[in-house]
Amino acid sequence: MVTHSQSARTEPAGPPGPTSSAGVSERARPGIAQRILGFTERGWRPIALLVVLFFAWWAVTAAELIEPYLVPSPGDTFDAIASRPDYFWEHTWATTYETLLGFVIAAAVGVFAAVVMVQSATVEKTLYPLLLFAQVIPKIAIAPLFVVWLGFGIGPKIVVAVLMAFFPVVISMVTGLKSVDPEMLQLSATMGAKPGQTFWKIRFPASLPHLFSGLKVAATMAVTGAVVGEFVGADAGLGFVILQANGNLDTPVLFAGLLIMSLLGVLLFVLVEWLEHLVLPWHASRRTEGVTTTL
């Protein structure tokens, strides 16, 4: 895999670019006002798309093209939330709590597993099939088992969230830890660096961009995991809300639950992305506009 850094470093033997021999390129760090302006400049298209989709939803229901009990209007959906704010708040919080806890545990377990795995090829070969097995087994199928084992409380939801979220973390972190320039490691050897120094000063920071892409995937998976956990047995959470609403054919509440759930995933994703900006201001993908960034 060619990383951004490598492609940025190797220069063609052709004539130097405008900044090539002059040294530092002119790139002032933007102020807050500029950043907000920059965000609205870049961010208006997705926002416009959302507005259009929302309008389409409203138009379809207003024209009564579809029966209201199949697709409720945006107004009915928001009314469902507004009429029972405490109910929605309680269940949203339950799912948020499970998701966050599941995500944090998945991140910790994932990073730890990756660090252990890159220590030796033997350990990696031994653990990999187990990890893969844990990933491919359908979570919805084993979730009832966790309910049997752990009861109806928060336990099974967190276990399912962790199971769903930790695989992308391990894979990306292993890739990251292995992505270090071999010449950098050779240099480190001629510097007489101890293994711990090489790890903390070179390997670990170099792996962070990869880790964050894994964390972003994990963030969305954690929400799904928590809801799947709620589906098989719960008395709280958005999964519970949706199941109940489904049973009563209460589509406005069902849609409200879906809406909040999606929002939760997006928020967690953006939170991880914001953390990434904070931790890795130097990272190459920050410097070029990529499809994987929303900020």
Binding site: E11, A13, P16, S21, G23, V24, R27, T190, A193, L280
Partner: protein, 258 residues
């Protein structure tokens, strides 16, 4: 001490790949005096970079012996400075912090390291760019940072593996002039691998020619140019023309004979 900075005696390096055994180097013997600037030229894939890896202990020879500063090399050596074709800088560190990595790894006193870094930053013309990140620097500037990092601990031997190979022609010439000056100022031993004959002759006191498959020493020539070498002037010296011609003939003849 045997008196040599680098001593490579009858060395062979063989790699075992899945399909066959490859001999990278065979019957290689070369000696480098302390303070000498030696260039190694040869076609790509002739094993010239392998010679640097042997000298620093990053690679062990299949047979023969390698000595650095009179001591047999067994395992990575700390008493060298290494510069690769890629600058190999840490993206999350500024130029100065990249240079100081050397000091951190070695546990050098912070104050001494900082002073030395400032000295090198000035010597290599990096002043004003100390706090820039690698992606904000041009290829030439990045390579200067790599050079400073390699010189921070005042290594008795500097190993350079095609350090200017990725630079454009003009920057490369400029870097050649600066390297020659820095070598004169630091008086360190330099072993430079290059595929540019002109670069080798301009920079070095002696040029070792290596031919490919397997890598063997095709000959060694002394470059009888003055110590102070003006770039333009040197290029038009008869001795420069003679030396480059000699090397070209030698490497070319070997290629034809094969």
């Amino acid at each position: 001490m045997t008196g040599y900075a680098v001593e490579i005696e009858d060395v062979a390096v063989r790699f075992r790949t899945k399909k066959r055994d490859v001999t990278a180097l065979r019957d290689v013997t070369m000696r480098v005096d302390p303070g000498e600037f030696v260039a190694i030229v040869g076609p790509s894939g002739c094993g010239k970079s392998t010679l640097l890896k042997l000298s620093s202990g990053l690679l062990a020879p299949s047979s023969g012996s390698v000595k650095l500063l009179g001591e047999r090399v067994s395992g990575p050596r700390k008493d060298v400075g290494y510069v690769f074709q890629k600058a190999a800088l840490l993206e999350w560190r500024t130029a100065r912090k990249n240079i100081l990595l050397q000091a951190e790894m070695r546990g050098m006193p912070a104050k001494e390291a900082k002073a030395r870094a400032d000295e090198l930053i000035e010597m290599t013309g990096l002043t004003g760019f100390e706090d820039a990140y690698p992606h904000e620097l041009s290829g030439g500037m990045q390579q200067r940072v790599a050079l400073c990092r390699a010189l921070l601990h005042r290594p008795p031997v500097l190993l350079m593996d095609e350090p200017f190979g990725a630079l454009d022609a003009l920057t490369r010439e400029q870097m050649n002039v600066e390297l020659r000056r820095i070598w004169q100022e630091t008086k360190t031993t330099v072993l430079l691998v290059t595929h540019s004959i002109a670069e080798a002759v301009y920079l070095a006191d002696r040029v070792v020619m290596i031919t490919a498959r397997p890598g063997t020493v095709a000959g060694v020539i002394e470059v009888n140019l003055p110590v102070d070498r003006d770039y333009g002037k040197t290029m038009s010296e008869p001795e420069f023309a003679k030396a480059t011609r000699h090397i070209r003939d030698h490497l070319g003849a070997a290629a034809v004979a094969e």
